[in-house]
């Protein structure tokens, strides 16, 4: 079997194993979905009128439109906490030692996790998106091409955060530590343009808010779905995604290839 065929076949086997875990024990994934959905409902129904006034809108329906792109990105940040936890749990299992002594594609264990997580991220985004539509979110002017680009952006952003989360999972001694180290991934959106525009934040803080990975991604998604100004955000977002993905990939594979304890 060629190396590529071996990689595809073994990764597919590992993917099925991870999906089986996710299907058998969905509570982790579902719990992680609660935070973005709760924040969405909280900010729309409780804070919505004030928030809407803050962004110069007329009522809370304007704020629904504003907040949803950020909530979708936050959903990805939350879902990948599950990735970090399951990678860390997995690495402490004896079965990983077994995999290491088998003539299988070396990277398939991690690739299985990454693709499984990507599918979970996209499923979570669709679920949260459905909640958003149910409470009145509508894309104003997205063409099919823009929808496709939006989907691509969500997938790319997911991939970047997943590789980082895999690295965090590999580096954590146990599931609790993994959950803690991945926590910033769901908190970062709070200091992005997800809930309020970055230019309404204190001046000294604006550069941090504007250039952290979430803001350019959120602004690009907003632009694609709602027709707001994207500016240079699209390439900053892509740059961030590629950089994070490469960094996470190198970190994860280096950890995996090290001798286990």
């Amino acid at each position: 079997m060629s190396t590529l065929a071996l990689a595809v076949r073994d990764s597919n086997t590992m993917l099925r194993r991870n999906l089986l875990h996710a299907r058998r024990y969905p509570s982790l994934t579902l719990n992680l979905l609660l935070t973005p959905i709760m924040l969405l409902l909280l900010f729309v129904y409780i804070f919505g009128d004030v928030m809407s006034a803050g962004i110069g809108g007329s009522d809370r329906s304007d704020y629904v439109a504003y907040i949803v792109p950020g909530i979708l990105m936050m959903t990805i940040g939350g879902t990948v906490i599950g990735t970090a936890v399951s990678v860390s749990t997995d690495m402490n299992e004896g079965i990983i030692a077994r995999f290491r002594t088998m003539a299988i594609h070396r990277g398939s264990v991690l690739i299985g996790h990454v693709i499984g997580s990507l599918m979970q991220c996209l499923a979570s985004v669709v679920l949260v998106g459905a909640v958003a539509i149910a409470i009145g979110f509508r894309s104003t002017d997205a063409t099919p091409l823009e929808w496709l680009a939006a989907l691509g952006l969500l997938a790319l952003f997911s991939l970047a955060l997943i590789w980082i989360a895999v690295g965090m999972g590999m580096a954590s001694p146990n599931a609790e530590a993994a959950a803690n180290s991945a926590q910033p991934l769901i908190l970062l959106p709070l200091i992005s343009s997800a809930f309020i525009p970055a230019d309404t934040m204190p001046g000294w803080f604006q550069p941090i808010a504007e250039y952290q990975p979430f803001t350019p991604a959120i602004e690009t998604l907003r632009g694609l779905l709602l027709g707001t100004e994207i500016g240079n955000n699209w390439w900053i977002a892509i740059l961030w995604c590629v950089a994070l993905a490469v960094l996470g990939y190198r970190w994860s594979t280096a950890s995996f290839n090290r001798d286990p304890k």
Binding site: R17, H21, E93, I95, R98, R100, M102, A103, D259
Partner: protein, 326 residues
């Protein structure tokens, strides 16, 4: 090394060395395991047994040593080694979140068996290891013995010719242990090479063709069980008394004995043959000594083990060749 010896040896190690920081775990050990035999690495906890298995099964790398498994150089072709071996580690290597059957099918997929072949192999092994009833339950719900059986069943999916078993019976109850021994014997009769580590002397004695005693990172002795037993002085007869006065007078009458005042026991050197035993009994009769308990102790691996490893901890090591004569 000539090519013929490389081929006849399933596992060959020369100068295997491994250290963690400044702590040397394996200090240049040599191993040679002919194909189709059972080799047992025997040693107390912390002797380096597991480290040796981890290295030879490609899980971790050695610091130094010329290592061949299945004719392949570990440093050059680890993937070829992996294709030849199966490993059942000390800690259960099953996926607890999925069922026993799913674990088996996972192994079949990773060995690239076709769907039907995978199903057949999984079903056969589940049957052979008495796991059919539990097949649809998550492996995390299995008992220790069942997990160990599933673990070994998973190892056998690819039909490995060389199997590493790291303390396969540690923590098992006596019945499960005997089951596991039976399974290992069956493997051997199929011509598989087994590399077994154990801290149970009885186990090495039962199963292994050759035994190496590992102590403190070095091979303290190597040979067949009989060869090892011959390394240490012969056996003895132990006389135990309940009456201190009888003990005292016996100790005075029999001068060539070793005294154990606390246990009120005397040890008389003896090879354990019928003739020697009769002469001791005659001698006791003529001296008018009547011990409350007489045990014949022939040298066993325990003695070898303790003599070689300098340990006196007998806590979980059952002595084997004692017969009580009342």
């Amino acid at each position: 090394m000539t090519s013929t010896t490389t081929h006849s040896l399933a596992i060959a190690a020369k100068g295997l060395h491994k250290a963690y920081g400044d702590k040397t775990v394996l200090d240049g050990i040599d191993l040679a395991v002919p194909a189709g035999t059972v080799f047992s690495l025997l040693g107390p906890n912390g002797a380096g047994k597991t480290t040796a298995v981890k290295i030879l099964s490609t899980l971790i790398t050695a610091d130094a040593g010329d290592l061949h498994v299945g004719g392949h150089d570990l440093a050059v072709a680890p993937q070829a080694v992996r294709a030849a071996i199966g490993v059942t580690g000390q800690f259960s290597a099953v996926d607890g979140l999925i069922t026993g059957e799913e674990n088996m099918l996972l192994m079949a997929d990773l060995h690239h068996l076709s769907r039907s072949e995978g199903r057949r192999t999984a079903a056969e092994l589940l049957e052979r290891f008495d796991l059919v009833e539990a097949a649809k339950k998550p492996a995390s719900s299995y008992s220790g013995g069942m997990k160990r059986r599933l673990d070994l069943a998973m190892t056998l999916v690819g039909g490995p010719r060389i199997i590493f078993l790291d303390e396969p019976t540690t923590g098992l109850d006596p019945r499960s242990r005997h089951n596991m021994w039976q399974i290992i014997r069956e493997l051997v009769s199929d011509g598989v090479t087994v590399f077994l580590t154990t801290q149970y002397l009885e186990e090495a004695d039962e199963l292994a063709d050759r035994i190496a005693v590992l102590n403190d990172g070095k091979i303290a002795a190597e040979g067949t069980a009989d060869e090892l037993k011959r390394l240490i002085p012969g056996g003895h007869v132990r006389l135990r008394f309940t009456d201190p006065a009888a003990y005292q007078s016996a100790a005075v009458a029999l001068r060539e004995v070793t005294r154990d005042d606390e246990a009120l026991a005397l040890t008389v050197p003896s090879g354990g043959s019928q003739r020697e035993l009769r002469s001791i009994l005659d001698w006791l009769d003529s001296a008018g000594i009547e011990a409350d308990e007489l045990t014949v102790h022939t040298p066993d691996l325990d003695d070898v083990f303790f003599a070689l490893t300098g340990s006196t901890d007998t806590a979980d090591v059952p002595a084997q060749s004692k017969e009580t004569v009342r």
